[in-house]
Subunit: 250 residues, 2 copies
Amino acid sequence: MNFPKRKQKIIEQLNQRGEVDIKQLATELDISEITIRRDLNQLAVDGLLYRTHGGATKVNPLERPHSFVNKSAQNAGVKDAICRLAAAQINDGDIIFMDCGSTVFRLCQFIKNKKIKVITNSLPVIYELQDCAVSVNIIGGELDKERQAVHGTTAIEHINKYRAIKAFLGIDGISEAGLFANSEHEASITSSFAANSAYTYILCDATKIGKETYLNFAGLNLISAIITNGDEDSLLFLKRNGVTVLSTKR
Amino acid sequence: MNFPKRKQKIIEQLNQRGEVDIKQLATELDISEITIRRDLNQLAVDGLLYRTHGGATKVNPLERPHSFVNKSAQNAGVKDAICRLAAAQINDGDIIFMDCGSTVFRLCQFIKNKKIKVITNSLPVIYELQDCAVSVNIIGGELDKERQAVHGTTAIEHINKYRAIKAFLGIDGISEAGLFANSEHEASITSSFAANSAYTYILCDATKIGKETYLNFAGLNLISAIITNGDEDSLLFLKRNGVTVLSTKR
DNA sequence: TTGATAATGATTATTTTTGAACGAATTAAA
DNA sequence: TTTAATTCGTTCAAAAATAATCATTATCAA
């Protein structure tokens, strides 16, 4: 029973019970109390727990931020169909923006073998494109851990330095009034991407069509096209406003 | 029973049990303990496992969705000792730079519970600090997939916008002539970090001391302190040049 | 075969880890 | 406040693991 093994067990116990007791650990791990004491001291120095008399407690009950993978798995079939359509719009040599939506994320799998440059603020996209031919440019700035993406004024400035052919963006809602987002941060990033690309594609499933939520940050003239699974009728207002509609239902 | 064969068996055992024991391997493979030790050391250098006293453990006991190349398994013990010393220099409220070296990466585990801001160009660092209290700022620019870090002129510009209290940097070599790097990219990033922080710490193991390799990109006056496991004698030239020396050997 | 090179094993000194003892410090109880 | 009981850290010693050195064996090419 070496230190790494003990360390693992101790952290495990700590996560289960919230606190540990030296005597109890000593008997359970079948090791002397002084060694446990030394272990706990070391782990306390490393900031992995708080030392107390006779034991230790958890340092910070921070629960893992929402799993991005799970969210992106919702409606996977629909999203994949949308992304296949989107990928068909991308040619070798293109420079494209990708934002941090869960739908846009699923576009990654369809572009891995294309010879393109991707500029993105989304960590999952970056990770996903790591071991493939795609050249990646990362938007710098503050990391929003909740959204696993970069945002803030530095990010906006960074985006404004680049020009892309196409932008692939997510959205929280879209109606005749324009585009809707659930936060200022998202809205400003989306606007910047759109402003610096020749063509702007919105990727969204049918639930977002006609939905008006929180912040109405731009009109429909910001975008060139929408790629969705919505049906003809619900998309009429987009066509009327000069937005190209690509639907997985035909 | 040659090395590739043994290597296969060892990795196999490791995946089954999570850890291996030298004595046990020696009897099972019917080979001397010293040879097993040599094998394990080699595999640790290759980043395939972590060496422990009496055996080895898997590199990443907690399953991660994305794995990064793990050069940091090499000399893990030495690097951890260096990083503990480094972590002791960091106070709550600090804003720090971290670059993309394998030693600097191991600093992550010791700062997870500190209330600090980290500005970095290293993807592994970003990933490692994702589920903790540390606030992260990502340097933007082109992604170097080889080094899993951001570089380029945009990155330099980005760094120049920020000011940090302390910079923790790796290096490929250091001698009386100054600092050495294996690439222009690395050198320019390191220089920028140093130029924009009040204190600059170099984290390096003893093998880098006195080593002159490829590009001599800066003098010793660039840095404030060095944190290393080198011995007194080999570090004298640093003290003579006004560099504070923090050594794990005392 | 012969010589050179690499891999393996044995020996020994050094380092690391662990446990025990005991006085000091801390907490809890009277 | 005083006393008793833990718990803690330091020191020391033993055991285990390791690194360093040298000897032996195996491998391979000429």
